[in-house]
Amino acid sequence: MTGEPTMKRQLFAAALLTLPATAFADDCEMKLGAMGPMSGGAAQWGLAMNSAAELAAAEVNQEGGVKIGGKSCKVVVVPYDSKYTADGAAAGSNALAAQDIHLIIGPVGSPEATGIKPVAARNEQVAWNASYAKNALEPKFPLMFHIGPGPSGWADAVIKRAMQEFPMKSVALIAPNDQGGTDIASVDAEAYKANGITTTEEYYQRGTTNFAPIVTRILAGKPDAVDTASSPPGDAGVIVKQLRLAGFTGAIGRLGGPGTAEIVRVSGGLDVLKNFYWFETVPTEDPKVRAIDDEYRKLLGKDPIGGTAVWADLPAARMTLKAVSIAGTDDAKAVAAALRTMPVEDPNIGKGFWAGKKQFGIAQELQFPFGVGIIKDGKNLGVERQEVKPE
Amino acid sequence: MTELRVESLAKRFGGLRVFQNIGFTLPEGGLLGVIGPNGAGKTTLINVISGRQMASAGKVVLGGRDITNQPAHAVSRLGLARSFQQTNTFKSVSVNENIARAVRFGGRGAPVGLTRMMDTFGLTPRLHEISDKLPYGLQKMLGLVMAFASAPKIVLLDEPAAGLERAERQNVDTFVQIVRDAGTSVLIVEHDMDLIRRLCPRILVLDAGVLLADGPPAEVLARPDVIAAYLGEAGEA
């Protein structure tokens, strides 16, 4: 009979959830912003920010909330759909500031990062962008933090691993023709070249739905591999489908954002994908990392949305809330100062370090262990954990 | 006795009177011309007699039998055939097949003079051609031949000469001659006044749906009201 203990445990969990709530000060509630594209092709990245913030908030609330001015305050997450645009993120910063929100988990894309930096600085907000923009951080915006390194932090390792499986001499990169697309693809291209691979870069208009002409153009150059860089997963799936339909048999890479599961789905399955290598922001097959989803379900009673990106975004949200309690306030400057002194460590992901000094001139980037995934001949070989060393 | 008798026949479309109070008798073997300006109601008259359209009032009697508002196929079974202003052949089949179908449909065997008619019209050498590949004049002739091929007792001809060249119009005379030789009576609606004068011993004049005159052409065409009706049309054209 396993029914009874299970029920007891559920009751206990419910008690855990409800009991501390009574401990919150009546008038104390801290709002935490969650920002990113929550509709459109990149929606899952923004929704991941939201899920990560929700989980971190639930964890903290379970333990009595954050300590602000000696009081225990409940954390409430306020999401904002910044639509992967600069003005969306800028408007979001203002909208959240209007609700007295000083801490934002997000936004995601390069245009959003560009848009939010000056506005959040003026609003005195800490923001955690996850973009791969070349200027994701700047010393003149000390309240801006960065969730993980861009391709310069990991592309080389992924390429070296991919070359073991798929010998290649030339690669064509395809990405949207906006800042987010070009920033990543050009850094990826540098990394390929550093490994002796010739590259061509191909950019498409965001909003393109049918990639047949671009596929034809790419294949005219007869590349050994095609890298979809940071193309949104939905786009990348169509690109893969149409590449294979056109008879391309080489490896397809993705040195960009997450979303492999969606690419598999849209393209038509592992058999279509065939030979694929990709970067994961976290070691997704590490059981400890995967346990994050179970915890989310346990605390929030629903499935997290956003896939593996939730795992990558979670440490930033957890560290921010911890910094609030250390600082004893949700004032952005105090929280930022507390953050800088904290060690980079996450119970699920492992140990990392503060990076970014070399690239941005400001060490406010979380570098955690990441993953490299390989699909070979239609078989998923899984995601390998790659440890990181301080710069 | 296959006489066609029309009594007080009228046709209305909604608020519009197409014709009214039309009465005449076409005796067996007789020949009657019907003339009138555009829109006088001539074609509608043929349509109503042949059962293609319903009469609003009056009677059509064929050989003593009331055929008013009988469906067209029933009327034609009784021996009333008609031709159309536009050609009405089976377009995608051969000339031969067209005529054969008409003969079969009549169920009375091929009438006397059918071969002569086909020879005269120049259809015999083209029996195996598809009918809508024929020149317009020949298609029209084929339509006439088909009307006759069912060996009818009466044929109604709706402007048989319309659209034909002068030389081809002679064929209409031949047609009428052969048909009458076979003992079939003819009612012919026509605009070509020469043709009417040539062929018809008696004509009806229809104007605005009313029977204006009934008698020999020379007498009828001299009447002032008939001239006025036609002048009206001449002014309009």
Binding site: S39, T216, G234, G237, L245 | -
Partner: protein
């Protein structure tokens, strides 16, 4: 040379897809004088209905497509009859209404199905290969459906009472009504035909490309472009322009790349409009 032929083939299949979309869009503008901002929503909805029929009800794909057409047509009919019809002569109001409907549809789909792409595959896969040239089989089916739809719509508009009535209402509403033509009866039908076409396109094309709540956005832009190029309200113009847009897009993308390709297309449209402001089928269209 191979690349040239390949670009042409791609252009034709893009054109077929655009034509299906533009026909409905131009029909609504031509007949009702309404710019239908919800057109992309019906495209998405068609995709999701077909997907749901296949994934949840287990219907065969062709049947699912028919259900999608029926569902989008029915929604279009209801929307026109109960909302749009009351304000059909107010340009600003119809703009707001159709835009509002688009937001309702896209947010509704996002709420029900979530933001991720669906696993929705076209049942016919693979391509015909002739040396280096290939034609995806699915594109041939779309092309066939497209040509059938163009022909059917043409027949409806030019050979039926319904079509005559619709064109009469478009030409002169007051006189047409005095003739006994009833906009309340005919306009919803026209709208339903148009949204059904959008739904048909969605049901056909989303399994070939991808199905997620964002895929309706580019539809409106493409439809607009095509219809402006073809001459607003002109059916023949829209069909022709769709293939022109498809072929220009294919050639410019193949030869100049994705970014410049889009630019070439827009410059071309701009030039055309400078020299022929009424579009390809340069005839007087409705003076709305």
């Amino acid at each position: 040379m191979d690349q040239f032929v390949q670009a042409a083939l791609i252009g034709i299949s893009l054109g077929a897809q655009y034509a299906l979309l533009a026909l409905g869009f131009t029909l609504i503008f031509g007949i009702l004088g309404v710019v239908n901002f919800s057109h992309g929503g019906f495209y998405m909805l068609g995709g999701y209905v077909a997907y749901s029929c296949v994934a949840f009800l287990g219907l065969p794909y062709p049947l699912a497509v028919l259900v999608a057409v029926a569902a989008t047509a029915a929604l279009g009919w209801v929307f026109e009859l109960f909302l749009l019809e009351r304000l059909v002569d107010d340009h600003l109001a119809t703009l707001m209404l159709t835009l509002g409907l688009y937001l309702v549809i896209s947010t509704g789909l996002l709420t029900v199905f979530g933001p991720l792409s669906m696993e929705f595959a076209f049942p016919v896969t693979g391509a015909l290969h002739m040396g280096p040239i290939y034609v995806p089989r699915e594109n041939l089916i779309v092309l066939a459906v497209c040509l059938t739809a163009i022909a059917a719509l043409w027949l409806v508009l030019y050979r039926t009472d319904l079509g005559r009535g619709l064109r009469a209402l478009a030409d002169d509403r007051a006189v047409a009504m005095a003739q006994g033509l009833r906009p309340k009866l005919l306009f919803p039908l026209a709208f339903a035909i148009a949204t059904g076409l959008a739904g048909l396109t969605g049901a056909l094309v989303t399994p070939i490309l991808s199905l997620s709540p964002g895929v309706g956005d580019p539809v409106l832009a493409t439809s607009f472009l095509t219809v402006i190029l073809g001459g607003l309200g002109s059916l023949e113009g829209a069909a022709l322009a769709a293939f022109v847009v498809g072929i220009v897009e294919a050639f410019s993308s193949v030869y100049f790349g994705g970014s410049i390709g889009a630019l070439v297309l827009f410059v071309l449209v701009l030039l055309l409009l400078v020299f022929r402001p009424t579009g390809l089928m340069g005839r007087t269209v409705r003076g709305a």
